[in-house]
Symmetry: C2
Subunit: 63 residues, 2 copies
DNA sequence: TCTGAATGACAAGCTCGCTTTACATCAATG
DNA sequence: CATTGATGTAAAGCGAGCTTGTCATTCAGA
């Protein structure tokens, strides 16, 4: 799964730690997801959608 | 996470095995997700969205 | 009745998602 | 320089997601 997290986070001007705090996960988790090490769980994907105010399908892309 | 899988599957007239085949997962996984034992991974949630032709957010509900 | 399809559930085992802790690199700023 | 903030990465550990295999129950139909 490809994702647009890095771009979306940059648009908000947030550090990985800022985003991690909003999501209530560790900074390493944010980093691992951004760098494509693994996909987030479904609940975490929903929290990302909420934080960015976007549907899940516009943050994560099939492929 | 609450989900509407049981209803959606019934609308299609599919057995758990039918849905499992389309998703390429085991019948036990479909059953476990329907009965709320755990949430699907994000890639599997995308496959469910594709199979039902619906956005993820209309299949899985925050809660 | 008997059989087969559908469902629910359990166990063991593997990998993935996430944690904490820790260390290294790089850029900017004093 | 020395420091600080942001980022990348790694290791160990735990629970979640998914597998195969198996068994029990229910219900429709020959």
């Amino acid at each position: 799964m490809n994702n647009r997290l890095r771009v979306l986070r940059a648009e908000k001007g947030w550090s990985q730690q800022d985003l991690a705090d909003r999501l209530e996960v560790s900074r390493q988790s944010v980093n691992a997801i951004e760098t494509g090490k693994y996909d987030p769980s479904l609940p975490l994907a929903f929290r990302l959608a909420d934080v960015f105010g976007l549907p899940i399908e516009s943050i994560f892309l099939r492929d």
